[in-house]
């Protein structure tokens, strides 16, 4: 697989890989690093990639496993290091205060999204997480543009109300 072929196949998957990474790591910087690492790994194995039938599934599984390894290592360090400050320092990369708050919020939003009704969850995942256009979502789901907007609106409002409740409690 040459450079252009590799880019054609895997670059469009970068965003999906990133979403998968952030779902596990809850940090933009760590998710971007994880995807960069996976691209390096994919490039190193590009000779054998031609044999893979579904590059999308392969790349997403790869990044998921990599992120789970990172996450498990952080948990392992957490149990080894008694001091809570050390745990936080080990898990976080830069700007600890912002990272802690941001990680918490990403985690909360993800929990709320998981609890949404199926149709709302699907639309918000496609639109706000995977960054697909309304036209693409119409093609994927078969829903009309108005329906998509309505479901997206309901999903965003539901996230807001649940998020505000969590914040108050």
């Amino acid at each position: 697989m040459d450079t252009e072929e590799f880019k054609d196949v895997f670059l469009p998957l970068g965003r999906l890989m990133y979403v998968e990474a952030i779902k596990i790591l809850h940090s933009q910087a760590d998710a971007e690093d994880a995807v960069q690492d996976m691209f390096t790994k994919l490039w190193e194995h590009r000779e054998s990639l031609e044999l893979i039938n579904n590059p999308r599934a392969y790349a997403i599984t790869m990044v998921r496993n990599h992120c789970l390894n990172i996450f498990n290592s952080a948990i392992h360090r957490q149990t080894e290091e008694a001091e809570p400050e050390n745990v936080i320092a080990a898990v976080l990369s830069t700007d600890p205060l912002y990272e802690i708050e941001n990680r918490d919020c990403i985690g909360k939003v993800l929990e709320i999204i998981d609890a949404l009704p199926e149709n709302q969850r699907k639309i918000i995942t496609l639109h706000d997480m995977e960054g697909r256009t309304n036209q693409e979502i119409e093609q994927i789901t078969g829903l009309s543009s108005d329906n998509i907007r309505q479901l997206l609106s309901r999903a965003r409002k539901a996230i807001r109300s649940h998020f505000f409740l969590i914040c108050k409690s």
Binding site: T3, F6, K7, L11, G14, R15, Y18, V19, I22, S27, Q28, A31, E32, V35, Q36, F39, T40, W43, E44, E101, N102, C105, I106, K108, V109, D128, M129, G131, R149, Q150, L152, S153, R156, K157, I159, R160, F163, F164, C167
Partner: protein, 177 residues
Amino acid sequence: MNIDQQKKLRELLDRYYAADTTADEEKKILEMLSDSGLPDEFLPDREMIEAMFAFVPDESFETRLSDTIDALASKGRKGKLKSIILRYPKIVKCSMAASLAALIAVMVITRINAPLTERTYMSPKDTYEQTTMALMFFADALNKGYNAIEIADSTTVDATEKAIDALATIGTYFADY
């Protein structure tokens, strides 16, 4: 943040929750929410929307991925050449010798085909000096090529010796058991 800006932000947020904003308007919301003078009433919106936007990678993300691939590709090309030199030193030596011979042949043919006046010297002394100089240039070039081959050769030998040592250590380890 003044009253007008707050009104504008509230209006944009209402439209965001109604799924009625463009990508540019959503960027504007994010920008307004990051204002240091943001009133407390908007703080939960800020936390939530910043978390929602965390699912969108940085604008330069794809470019950086593409650059990473380009860097890996160019690194791979250099590495490939190096590994060919180390793996097939005899072939490389033969290729270099053949190239050198071809180059000399071309030079000689060019000189032979040149007009007679260009390769004629006034005296035997001039001829001797020119020949000596040409031979010195040739010897120097040959020496440089030979040194490069020596370096490549010694690197291969070192790597082979290290591999043999490692295998011997492994052999000893298993023999002990």
